[in-house]
Amino acid sequence: MTSRAMRATFQIVLLLFLLLFVYMLDFRLGVLRLLFPLQRELIYQRVTLPTLVIQHLQMVTISSAAATIVGLLIGVAVTRPAGRDFLPLARDLSSFAQTFPPAAVLALAFPVLGFGFRPTVAALFVFGLLPVINNTISGIESVDSRIVEASVGQGMTQKQVLFRTELPLSARVIVAGIRTSIIINIGTATIGSTIGAGGLGTVIIAGLVRNNTAFVLTGAITAAGIAFVVDWLFGRIETLFYDPRERVTT
């Protein structure tokens, strides 16, 4: 088996395991019983695992979608002639803000916005913005200026230069930024349960509080599994934007 085929098999097996673990109660019970023969309470009763998965994905989808849109807009705005004065500022501020721990940003959302789902989404949105802004800027900046000049020389309008030259050529870098943003958000959303947002952190925290390792593992496996699957998915999307000529020249 080639390494690529091996990887694909591994990914399919893991995806199947994840689906069975989340949606087939008997399967999950079997796995947990095998690991923790002495533990009496294996299944978290208050909320079902599929519900927690849905909550988790909702938080991440809403915040990351908003972060992608706003981050792209900011990134594009500061690379236009009118907004160019703000470009160093946007880059510096977003890398400065990235040194803030995500858990800290989330914790600060509570005093400002209160408990629950919405403050968590807001915090995830703010933190998720940064990689998108950074990568949009560096993606557009890395487009060869000769190509941009050639586009202008062909009589393209500013809008056409943006949509037909700059964005397609920087798409791969931008998608990488979105990927980073989503992966960070999946992780941070886990901590969101400490401010009452629900999601997979709920069962992990419940396990930690009640000293029930089976609960902890249930949440940890599912959260890690989702992160892996989303990461692979975006890895795939990124390769769609590879320029076939690039491999030859570099």
Binding site: L89, L93, T99, A104, I221, F228, D231
Partner: protein, 394 residues
């Protein structure tokens, strides 16, 4: 295009002044009786009119610098930075001398003051102006000193006792001893994990470069670890470690348990690996073979080649990796408090548990300062480690 037709008006400084000026009209503080009290908002003008006009004067000064290109060029925007520093000091000191505290004591027996929307907005404006001004200066010395000046101002105000009425400072005074303990634990855990990651990560990076067949699987594993949510990784450490400590009593006596510092250190170590391994690998991969050839041609021995050529070239890149690791680990150590490890996260999650925002802020501020300090310090070290004539060249 010559000088890209720099507009006469500095848009960024001006918009910074605009944001700051706007913030001054919003409520800057919330005065509360105790930490669970909703409190009532106080604006700068409502607190003390002279202080309000002083703050406004600083904002106007910044705006004037923004529209005078001659002054800006000659002074490298320094007056704006200075005015921003004064505004910063005034903002904090306002809680003590501005009458907000008196207001608090008048209304309640012993009130406390929390920063409100106006406070954060003015702070953001200061950040915009300072960050922007730093870009104009090429002096590494100046760029290092200005952030320090802000930190020093805050510490000075704290020592003098002007900001004692600020709610999170109040929280600090009620648990001074524990604060020192948790801060030390936080630094210890983060530094221990990154130290171990350097000790393992650098050889691993070299190995990944030397043995081509190892490269892919190694990076798949190290990358994979980074993908796992932090809380999940901490959770995954508990079961195996609990098992090991049950099997081997010696380890249990050494403090290896399913919860506490051991699983935290292990998980943080695994997290910290990726940037270090990746940068070590990159530093070797980007090395120009011509440099090695030149060294060999000069008759360098294998050892000389390593210490005089390879290490100096790769060190800055590896240090950049350590920097990313360190900043990330300081943040993740916060989460480690959830599995019973020490560190400042304990305050944060205790505050969340008790719905006490002031306690959360008290925990978060030192974490953020630690992360920023680590970032700065490692940046300076790696700038210093760049070989060759470089001072002021970048």
């Amino acid at each position: 295009m010559i000088d890209r037709e720099r507009s006469v008006v500095d848009k960024v400084t001006l918009s910074g002044a605009l944001v700051g000026g706007g913030g001054l009209f919003l409520p800057v503080f919330i005065v509360k009786e105790h930490r669970l009290d909703a409190g009532f908002p106080v604006s700068f003008a409502g607190m003390s009119l002279p202080l309000f006009f002083l703050a406004l004067a600083f904002v106007v000064a910044i705006a004037i610098v923004g529209v005078l290109p001659g002054l800006r060029r000659r002074s490298r925007n320094l007056p704006a930075v200075l005015a921003a520093l004064c505004l910063f000091a005034l903002l904090w000191a306002g809680t003590g001398i501005g009458g907000a505290a008196e207001l608090a004591e008048y209304e309640f027996e012993r009130g406390r003051v929390s920063p409100s929307s106006g406070f954060w907005i003015v702070l953001l404006a200061i950040l915009i102006i300072v960050t922007h001004s730093m870009k104009q200066s090429t002096s590494v010395w100046l760029r290092g000193c200005v952030p320090l000046a802000f930190v020093a101002t805050l510490i000075a105000l704290f020592v003098v006792g002007v900001i004692d009425d600020v709610a999170f400072v109040r929280e600090y005074y009620t648990r001074e001893d524990r604060f020192v303990r948790e801060l030390t634990a936080h630094i210890g855990i983060a530094a221990g994990a990154v130290g171990a990651a350097v000790a393992v990560g650098v050889p691993t990076g070299i190995l990944a470069y030397r043995i081509r067949s190892l490269e892919r699987p190694l990076f798949a594993v190290v990358n994979g670890v980074q993908t796992i949510p932090s809380l999940a990784l901490f959770g995954l450490m508990i079961a195996p470690l609990a098992l090991i400590s049950q099997r081997f009593p010696i380890l249990r006596e050494l403090g290896v348990r399913g919860v506490g510092n051991t699983p935290a250190l292990l998980a943080l170590f695994l997290y910290a690996l990726l940037p270090i391994v990746r940068n070590t690998y990159t530093s070797l991969a980007v090395m120009d073979p011509a440099v090695i050839h030149a060294g060999t041609g000069m008759g360098m021995t294998r050892r000389q080649l390593m210490w005089q050529v390879e290490v100096p070239i790769s060190l800055p890149i590896i240090l950049a990796g350590v920097r990313v690791s360190m900043v990330q680990t300081i943040g993740n150590t916060t989460v480690a408090a959830l599995i019973g490890a020490g560190g400042l996260g304990n305050f944060v999650f205790q505050g969340l548990g008790q719905a006490a925002p002031d306690l959360i802020v008290m925990g978060v501020i030192p974490i953020v300062i630690l992360a920023l300090l680590a970032d700065r310090v490692f940046q300076l070290i790696s700038e210093w480690a760049v070989p060759g004539p470089k001072r002021g060249a970048v």
